[in-house]
């Protein structure tokens, strides 16, 4: 069942076409990866779905509703959660307060002037943190957490809005290989259990081919291939485009995936 439908999305910056007639869908519970060399237009497409950029043409439909021109705030209310390439959390707050803030916003209480924020939705926040394995760190300030843990807190914040669609821009950038697999396994299990569609961009091919159900390959703003990891890996055009090296997408021999 289609959750996200992107139709003919087009964006140019001056003379540079960053996205050309990009069309794809994401189903509930599906993990779709967008890959491509640097400058292929991954972030452009991603930010048009997330609401940080306005497309020149085309449509973004979430559950059949047009969100092409909706602000990031509106998308959040429609059920879009997101994480950022460089994790964005509220560093002056504890891990729990970060999630509580998302819950407060979700319940439209952010103009509340009386009851302290730290007393609201505390149990629910701790429960969300325990889902990403961060319950013990609930009262630790985010500024004191290791980066991998901050990424987990960010995931908990994104989940607090009960998203239908989760956008993850390079979710494992800046993490150690072992942490990468763990975070993506966690994401996959949550997505499957709750029927959340996940759209992510990624540079680490182990993460992409290990976790994505389908892969889109972008080159110079255009989709040149789409399909299961195996189909994409075999695609001649992709092999040529990707670093010009026919074997760039094959797993390294003798090295087990982390």
């Amino acid at each position: 069942m289609t959750l996200l439908a992107v139709n003919g999305l087009h964006k140019s910056f001056g003379g540079v076409v960053a996205a050309r007639d990009v069309t794809f869908t994401v189903a509930r519970g599906e993990m779709l990866a967008i890959i491509g060399p640097n400058g292929a237009g991954k972030s452009t497409v991603f930010n048009m779905v997330g609401g940080q950029l306005r497309p020149d043409r085309g449509q973004v439909l979430l559950d059949g509703q047009d969100i092409t021109h909706a602000s990031p705030q509106k998308r959040f209310r429609r059920g879009v959660g997101r994480t950022f390439q460089v994790a964005q959390t509220f560093l002056s707050m504890s891990a729990a307060e970060n999630v509580q803030m998302a819950l407060i916003s979700c319940n439209r209480q952010s103009n509340g002037l009386w009851r302290p924020a730290s007393e609201r939705h505390r149990d629910k926040a701790v429960e969300l943190l325990s889902r990403v394995g961060m319950a013990e760190a609930a009262d630790t300030p985010c500024s004191a957490l290791a980066y991998g843990d901050v990424k987990r807190v960010e995931l908990a914040i994104a989940l607090a809005g009960q998203p239908k669609l989760l956008l993850m821009d390079e979710p494992t950038a800046g993490m150690a290989p072992r942490e990468r697999a763990a975070l993506m396994d966690l994401t996959a299990s949550i997505a499957e259990a709750q029927g959340i569609g996940v759209l992510f961009t990624e540079h680490d091919m182990d993460v992409v081919f290990g976790h994505a159900a389908r892969v889109l390959v972008l080159l110079r703003g255009q989709i040149i291939a789409a399909g299961t990891p195996d189909q994409v890996r075999q695609d001649e055009q992709v092999k040529r485009a990707y670093l010009g090296d026919a074997r760039a997408l094959e797993p390294l021999r003798g090295v087990s995936p982390a």
Partner: protein, 618 residues
């Protein structure tokens, strides 16, 4: 009608061009320095003033040795070079240490330099204005359409484009210029290319200060060098750089041209308030183009990493509160009338500073014009008493409402902006109000202000008024504290910590900031109203830059990361002022040096430092 006489119009346009030239030469230095260092240099106006004083002193001596145009222009150039070297000293001693500091600290540190220079100029050049010599060979006026026009002004008109051309050549054709342009676009990239940053920045400061000095030195045949030059030019130079786009030299030129004409012809429309017209232009331009004509959004944006963070509540808070209430209530038993007056003022300023903390410490909104709302509250109350004869009980809420209204209006413009543009816009709002209060004499009494603003009989006298102030301050601070801990305060902090994250969880950042502006404005307005009744009068200085800086200094002194910091900072600054000011004529020098010292070695403030020390011990 004489206004439509073509000769008159021509002369007005020409004098507009000549003031545009002077303004451009000065603002050009400011914008180049900002482009490279990302520091908004308040002291730029001081460098301009030093240029004028140096030239007015130096050029007559040189002319005694050898009279002639060459000597005159050489003297102007030497003065500008001297100012350039002073700029180098400022860079090496101060700016170099604060490139990485938050914007607020940079602004305050360079304002500290302004204060220091104000006293030093009086020490070096004496307290009286210095009238410079007229330029040899340019003494006779020329006739334009039958009207006499000073020929020196024509030279000034040419000077602007000449400086623009020379700066353009410098930036386009030299290695230094390439580095300056590269650093203006992407400072981090230039740093990672192995460019000698220290030399680049020092060179830039020399260039910027040289241009400021040149701008000032060129003024000596027109106006006498005086101690008010620094703040009046810096306000205009800020407008020029902001309207043109920070860091853009052509932008500054275009903006200076527009502002010069606006001033020349604005006199015909609003005879008394050209300043208001100029600031209104800035408000309109920023409303349409948030980064000025040719400015660009900061890559990555400014960081507001400093501010209030979550802390576990202090054990025994309730007891501490009771003790504070008891001490405040018992104070009149031991204090005399003078001490009560001092305590009343400290409480008022504590409330004022605390209201600013909601914007800066909680919201990361660096307002540089908080005096606007303090002054609106004071004037609102005073005007209500003077024109409608209402009592104190009605006047205080009226002042508060006026301040909240003003904050709502200013905030509607301001919350669209960020970083330094926001700081400049708030400053502009305060300056507009200052100009209105100063120039609308029929209503506001102008420079003399409004007198006869006395409290109701039950509250008059030192003890009752002190108790009233203490009660109102305490209640408002507790209410604001509650708001800071409530979801609204957390939402402000969220937007400060990460705007992208705040938007992604559905927070309406602008709306929250707007409301924060109104709440902070209302609280500052209440403080202003109480202040008006405590002194019995109001005057335009309540709306001035120095009142805004007082509040910022209190925040800095107490500690921006702490909730009670501003309260302690208000007491410390006011106490120091009462204690030291009578002892010395160099109060501004001392205050300036203390501000600089605080930024450099004591950035966490009194409360922050004590807390860290306590935390390290435990």
């Amino acid at each position: 009608m004489p206004a439509l006489d073509p000769a008159f119009l021509a002369v007005q346009a020409l004098s507009g061009l000549s003031s545009a030239s002077s303004l451009f030469i000065t603002a050009c230095g400011l914008t180049i320095v900002f482009g490279v260092t990302r520091i908004v240099n308040f002291a730029h106006g001081s460098l301009y003033m030093i240029g004028a004083y140096t030239a007015a002193t130096l050029v007559p001596r040189l002319l005694e040795l050898s009279f002639g145009p060459v000597t005159f222009w050489a003297g102007i150039l030497i003065s500008a070079i001297i100012v350039g070297l002073i700029g180098v000293i400022i860079e090496v001693l101060l700016l170099r240490r604060i490139y990485g500091a938050p914007e607020l600290f940079q602004l305050l540190a360079t304002f500290g330099v302004v204060l220091v220079v104000q006293d030093l100029v009086v020490q070096v050049f004496g307290p009286q204005d210095i009238l410079g010599p007229r330029a040899p060979g340019l003494r006779a006026p020329v006739e334009i359409l039958g009207r006499r026009f000073p020929s020196y002004e024509l030279v000034l008109i040419a000077a602007g484009p000449i400086v623009l051309g020379l700066v353009w050549l410098l930036l386009r054709k030299t290695r230094f210029g390439v580095l300056v342009r590269a650093a203006t676009q992407d400072r981090d990239m230039v740093a990672s290319l192995g460019v000698n940053q220290a030399l680049l920045f020092t060179g830039t400061l020399f260039l910027g200060a040289f241009l400021a000095g040149l701008g000032g030195a060129l003024q000596i045949p027109r106006v006498s060098a005086n101690t008010g030059m620094d703040l009046s030019i810096i306000a205009e130079a800020f407008v020029v750089t902001v309207v043109g786009g920070m860091g853009s030299v052509p932008g500054a030129f275009l903006a200076a041209l527009i502002i010069g004409q606006l001033q020349a012809f604005g006199i015909l429309i609003f005879p008394k308030s050209t300043l208001v017209v100029v600031f209104l232009l800035m408000a309109v331009v920023l409303a349409i183009r948030p980064y000025g004509f040719f400015g660009r959004a900061e890559i990555g944006g400014g960081t507001h990493a400093v501010g209030i963070a979550s802390r576990s509540p202090l054990p025994g808070r309730g007891l501490i509160l009771l003790i504070v209430i008891a001490v405040l209530a018992a104070f009149p038993l031991v204090a005399d009338a003078y001490l009560l007056k001092v305590a009343t003022e400290i409480l008022i300023f504590a409330l004022f500073a605390f209201s600013l903390q909601l914007l800066i410490g909680v919201g990361g909104i660096v307002s540089f014009g908080h005096a606007a709302f303090f002054g609106l509250g004071a004037y609102g109350a005073a005007l209500a008493v003077k024109w409608y004869g209402v009592s104190m009980e009605a006047a205080l809420p009226l002042g508060l409402a006026l301040a909240a209204l003003g904050a709502g209006l200013a905030g509607a413009f301001v919350v669209r902006l960020s970083g330094i543009y926001l700081a400049m816009m708030t400053l502009a709002a305060a300056q507009i109000l200052y100009a209105v209060a100063f120039q609308w004499v029929e209503v506001t009494g102008g420079d003399n202000g409004i007198v006869g603003v006395w409290p109701s009989s039950w509250a008059s006298g030192p003890i009752p008024y002190y108790l009233l102030t203490a009660a109102l301050t305490l209640i408002t601070v507790l209410l604001l504290k509650r708001i800071i801990d409530a979801p609204f305060g957390y939402a402000l902090r969220a937007a400060r910590d990460s705007e992208a994250r705040a938007e992604a969880i559905g927070l309406k950042v602008r709306q929250h900031r707007w409301l924060a502006f109104m709440i902070a404005g209302a609280a500052a307005g209440l403080a202003g109203g109480i202040y008006a009744f405590s002194r019995g009068s109001v005057d335009p200085s309540l709306l001035g830059i120095s009142t805004s800086v007082d509040a910022l200094t209190m925040l800095l002194l107490g500690g921006i990361q702490t909730v009670v910091g501003p309260l302690v900072g208000a007491a410390a600054l006011h106490g120091l002022r009462d204690w030291i000011m009578p002892l010395t004529s160099l109060w501004r020098l001392l205050l300036g040096l203390s501000i600089i010292a605080m930024v450099l070695i004591f950035p966490r403030g009194l409360v922050g430092t004590v807390r860290d020390w306590w935390g390290a011990r435990a």
